[in-house]
Symmetry: C2
Subunit: 806 residues, 2 copies
């Protein structure tokens, strides 16, 4: 049922394509073809059958699943490539991991893993026998079974086949610091239209041929997305070749549909590409070449739904968008369609593929690599197996000296940079730690890292360039998507990393975070998947300090986005100063299987806790700051809660002011580092019990809570608490633009004067002095606005504020 056209190479521009005729001997060809037929048969079977898996009797409606769910279109191409990669692994003893962009071709990857035996090793119920085969088919896209896409459940994968765009950055992330690893990466022509994929081709400017592995991109043109044609398949070949050369690759074309010719051509092309990779690596490793190589890539053009029936009801199926999901939708109801399905499945010759027991015939096994050389069993694809903990310096050695809370100043992220520098240095030999950032490493004050490593850079350099080298471990590209994709690939293959971003622009990777959180949720439920290092975000250059930029750079909502994910996976930290940040960062780098979001400022700011106090405070995650409170003798009149560096400073400054007006007012300051402590113990593993919460926030006193982000989040986290009705939250409410740091607070009413007014308005027993104080504070706000709009800077008393010890 395959198409009629023969294998073809392109015309003028495809000079690099290898000569193909006779590349494979008859035996080899037969092994490949048999393996491919088996994988295709198993793929169709998974989509359609719940019984009669080897067609030992004629196909009947009751053998067909009642709901047909899956994607056939991309699958035969993926299987074809799988078969050929296996041959290459066997011939060359390669360490290879397969990344699949069109991951909705899930049945193909499951079929491959089953043929290789890995699937049955991991899931003994799905053995390589008749019963296992039956189960293999039934479980696919079936309630209680396995999902239709490549997923954490799929052996050999680090890449969820859901949202498109990240295959290539995942592949590069896997290849970094794995010099012996080759990562063939299939990019679907639909996926190639996405933005993240379109720029991730440039990853080749960040790969060091001497110390990193190789990525072999395979752009798979099957011509259609869901319903429309794809751009890469519908531009002249010359243009596509030009595009790939422009991206810095040497493209090799394989196009056609006739299996034998295609096997010859693809095998020859793959061998040529692997030879080129080998040459490039030798040149860099043995000859010390520092020139950026032109890495090979393959353009594979095959019909969509290759080997499906060419027509159903007079309408084209193979080679058309109709093959995208389930090519024949109603064989259970339509006897003619049932017949077409049966004849399609029999076209693969199941009787020649499987033994009486249901096991694959030995010929198929001839194409399987051995043990961990099987792509479905490659240890890198279950990276936790390879994970080694980082050698960590003692973060206490980087402590900022704090003699008096709130008097000395420091730049929190700069201090963190020194700690990260030494983490980098201590693990230099292991080569298992990288930091990622969209060109903001220095802007975010992590510049110390460049004392011990460089920015990865394999493109041209010029005099005056600063700290660029092919082997650099600071990864900077102005693409949050690529940074995130690299980092995910790096973590999933068992290494460690750290992503620093402008807070507002973390939203660029919202959807990628979703997918990684979902991956973690599922994989932590699979015993055979080993824990991996957490995905650590430092959000800095945050909403309150966008001095150069303004409104477009102000958005603290990434936290809101993340906390919608499963509580077991998500952690959010708002360290108020440098020492708490150090302790939090140390904790995050040691943690596993989490998404840690840390928000911290980079500007000079008051420091509150010495290291000992910081460690104690972080261990609790939330706590009363006794030195700032005066309710030691009993219940407070008011609680001032705060989370985040700027809100903490404004809260303390408000306490300062209020003390002057109301020396007898009993105020309690509660600082929150670990935001999830606010939630119920039943909702989040870090959540406080109600008794604990009440002991901090009381059951009935007013609480003025100054929060770093959107104020509603605090309500969402605390709505079940006894005292919730008295919690009044201030936060960012989308006001302000390019202005001074303090004016930003005023515009959003989270400043010291407004917070003090909030207290006055909510504490009834303040008496006659309340009106006077309120007016004085309001006058201060007026004075501020006048001063800032006249002189362009904050009031000196604000700029120079430090905490006055009682």
């Amino acid at each position: 049922m395959t198409g009629e056209s023969t294998a073809t190479t392109g015309t003028t521009t495809w000079a690099t394509t290898a000569p193909a005729a006779g590349h494979l001997g008859r035996e080899e060809l037969d092994v490949l073809q048999t393996w491919w037929r088996a994988a295709n048969y198993l793929s169709v079977g998974q989509i359609y059958l719940m019984d009669n898996p080897l067609l030992r009797e004629p196909l009947k409606p009751e053998h067909i699943k009642p709901r047909l769910l899956g994607h056939w279109g991309t699958t035969p191409g993926l299987n074809f490539v799988y078969a050929h990669l296996n041959r290459a692994i066997r011939h060359r003893d390669l360490d290879m991991m397969y990344v699949i962009g069109p991951g909705h071709g899930g049945p193909g990857l499951v079929a491959g893993a089953w043929l290789e035996g890995t699937y049955s090793e991991i899931y003994p119920d799905v053995a390589r026998d008749y019963e296992g085969l039956q189960r293999l088919f039934t479980q696919f896209s079936f309630p209680g079974g396995v999902p239709s896409h490549v997923a954490p459940e799929t052996p050999g994968s680090i890449h969820e086949g859901g949202e498109l765009g990240y295959s290539l950055s995942h592949a590069f992330g896997a290849a970094f610091d794995n010099p012996e690893l080759i990562v063939p990466c299939v990019v679907g022509d639909g996926e190639a239209e996405t933005g993240p994929l379109a720029t991730s081709w440039h990853s080749n400017k960040f790969l060091d041929p001497a110390t990193d592995g190789a990525v072999l991109p395979i752009l798979h043109l099957n011509g259609y997305k869901i319903a429309s044609p794809t751009i890469p398949a519908r531009i002249p070949e010359e243009e596509l070749v030009s595009l790939m050369r422009g991206y810095g690759y040497e493209p090799h074309l394989v196009a056609g549909s006739e299996p034998e010719a295609m096997h010859q051509l693809f095998a020859a092309t793959l061998d040529r590409c692997l030879d080129e990779i080998s040459t490039i690596q030798h040149r860099a490793r043995r000859d010390g070449s520092v020139q950026r190589p032109r890495w090979p890539m393959i353009v594979l053009r095959t019909p969509k739904g290759w080997t499906a029936p060419s027509e159903v009801d007079g309408k084209r199926v193979e080679g058309s968008w109709r093959a995208h999901q389930v090519p024949i939708t109603d064989p259970r109801q339509n006897p003619e369609h049932l017949r077409i399905l049966e004849s399609w499945m029999r076209s693969y010759g199941p009787a020649e593929l499987f033994e009486e027991s249901g096991a694959p015939v030995p010929r198929i096994g001839e194409n399987n690599p051995a043990g961990p050389r099987r792509m479905s069993d490659n240890p890198h694809a279950n990276g936790g197996h390879l994970l080694r903990a980082l050698r960590m310096p003692d973060f206490r050695n980087y402590a900022v000296r704090v003699q008096q809370p709130g008097t000395d100043k420091a730049e929190a992220t700069k201090v963190l940079g020194e700690f990260l520098r030494d983490v980098m240095q201590r693990n230099a030999d292991e080569r298992n730690f990288r930091v990622f950032s969209p060109d903001e490493n220095n802007s975010n004050r992590l510049g110390a890292l460049l004392e011990v490593t460089a920015r990865a850079w394999d493109a041209e350099t010029e005099p005056g360039d600063d700290g660029l080298a092919p082997g650099g471990r600071v990864m900077e590209i102005l693409s949050e998507h690529t940074c995130q994709g690299w980092l995910e690939g790096y973590l999933l293959t068992g290494r460690h990393g750290f992503f620093s971003s402008y807070e507002a622009f973390a939203h660029i990777v919202d959807s990628m975070v979703n997918q990684h959180a979902k991956w973690l949720k599922v994989s932590t439920g699979l015993q055979w998947r080993q824990p991996i290092s957490s995905l650590n975000y430092l959000l800095t250059s945050h909403v309150w300090r966008q001095d150069h930029n303004g409104f477009s750079h102000q958005d603290p909502g990434f936290i809101d986005h993340v906390v919608n994910k499963k509580a077991e996976v998500v952690r959010v930290y708002l360290p108020p100063d440098a020492n708490t940040l150090l302790s939090v960062a140390d904790h995050c780098l040691r943690s596993r299987d989490y998404i840690n979001v840390v928000v911290a400022g980079k500007q000079p700011a008051p420091q509150y806790l010495d290291m000992e106090a910081a460690v104690v405070h972080n261990t609790k995650g939330i706590g009363i700051w006794d030195w700032a409170s005066n309710d030691q003798d009993g219940e407070p009149d008011v609680v001032l809660g705060c989370a985040g560096d700027v809100p903490t400073m404004e809260t303390l400054a408000a306490v300062d002011r209020l003390r002057g007006f109301f020396p007898d007012l009993r105020m309690r300051v509660v600082n929150v580092v670990d935001l999830m402590r606010l939630q119920d113990a039943g909702e989040h593993p870090h959540g406080l019990t109600d008794v604990e919460f009440d002991s901090l926030f009381t059951r009935d006193r007013p609480v003025i809570f100054a929060y770093h982000g959107y104020p509603w989040l605090i309500h969402r986290l605390t709505y079940r608490r006894n005292n919730h009705r008295n919690i009044h939250v201030r936060g960012y409410k989308e006001e302000g633009t390019t202005t001074t740091p303090f004016d930003m607070c005023v515009l959003n009413e989270i400043d010291r004067f407004n917070l003090a007014i909030d207290v006055i308005d909510r504490v009834p027993q303040l008496g006659a002095r309340a009106a006077y104080a309120r007016e004085a504070l309001t006058d201060k706000l007026v004075e501020h606005r006048h001063h800032v709009t006249t002189y362009g800077e904050d009031l000196p008393e604000v700029r120079n504020w430090t905490w006055s010890p009682q």
Copy 2:
């Protein structure tokens, strides 16, 4: 202070670059150079000065702003291009709009608008005189002034200069259906690294040279991002040319730093590009050519911070990353640096640029186009001016017949598709409506649109392709970023649109929505900006019906993301059936300056309201469904709230069940279409007052609320309500994968059986029958799980459920 190198063209590959010598006469050259000097002077002045704007006295520390905030690096290049575009407009009488990717070059655009007079027309306080000049300088990046980036406040712009990546898709969005418009679009070499930009080059496959305008991309290589070099500036020219040709453009290079040579070269190149555009358009419009043209583009390579001091303190400034923001950071404190700044500013010759009055000299005016030909006054850049309402068919004509609530079935989005088809047809002559989707138009059941228009497609076609044409108005590219960018550009230039997306993948454009919401918030506060058509999202293929895909496609959090934005800008609708969807869609297409998010399913589902009832229900946005309630004689025992199609169905089915067990239980069903009705009247313009809220949800009865998305959102919206402590919310909690629709509900406990159990658990007066009913319902859950995991489909009673009228 300009660099020493002369203008150069590249070597072999730049054959297309125009010959330059003598292209401009002396006079013309002088006009251009004078305009450019003035724009540069004004740009530096804005960054530094708060007094002495014309340097009539020696520069003193007190003339310098206390906080220096802004970006010089990209600005002189933007000004250079501005000057040349003005010349082209004058010579050719062009309708031109300028889109600036590196929008942090804000001072340049403001300078241009001021030189052209537009700025003073809009902001009379900033007149073209000495006082106005003083104000122009002071206001920039100053509290109470204007932001440092290009922003809604900037005349002539539709593009916020904050988050990078969307300039080119905005430019194409503006050019669609504006055949006379030319949109030069500067793409920064930093921005060029982003994913969204990298794929937006492909927009040329969707532009019809016959009926659309033209985009002239200008890739501006100034070599550095914040601190690192950029990829496009550090690959061989040959590779860059190959990349641009691969994207389908014909690149023209202009490189150098010596002003006179650069003026000649750029003018010649720009003329050549405009000639090519003209030829392409003639060929398509007069000769009817249907071949996709190879549009011209320009690569402009100039030093970063061009014309800045070449060195400060022995360190390179012009041509280095040090010129990115403020090249000299401390002139107020450092007298030597003050001297360098003064000599830098004087190098532009302010005395020759401005008259005694402070007005620009007449020579500058010679380069200004007249009236609305000025780019700062181009009407397309204030699109509301050009906006014409859509001719709308009566949505009531598309009504689904509903004789009995909950018995007939329909596919809501399919019905909507018919309505949209006729909107499309009625406005075909106006050419002011397009629909956008990442290849999901048909998958989302909006296929009827293709009866009256095609998918826009200017690439190759093949036999079997369906509904592709260069002038098509269904815009499909597998890039949510590009769809969103096109749509924003289209709306901001005064047209109408509709974006349909898989719900989960709307997160891909989270950050773009942020930026558009911020644009709307600011621009609605500017009287001179006219209202534009709302940005309308249809989120379908939603979390509850991901039958083919599973966990990776399940995320209802886009709503959560959007509601963090300013309440005045955001609307969220969850129509429960087809007629309510029609009415909502009609409302959204007529609205202005909002972001409307509409969530609706595409699968066959029960219908509840006939059109009359649907209109009434939508007008209220929330209401009691009397036909489903039995509390007519007084207060209910329990309220069942629901929002979203699937939760509504499950709620009604739960009511059905409960009626069987407890005929006397008084149940009230409240359905929510307009989610913002739940919020306080003080928080959102659509919010209910407490009295209204209490009249629906009572002050003390239990409320079981079934919500489409993450359940916490309902708490966040209602935490201040009197009855909040009794509101129990069910929603999506990240459970489930590829399974049946009903099983998805069960796994997230939002199904009819769980909802009924929730009611039983919260209504105390049910008596002895409660335990029996609870057990029966629990048995049903067990039966369901057994059935679904055995047979792969839902229980027949669930699949065939319809509402039983009382």
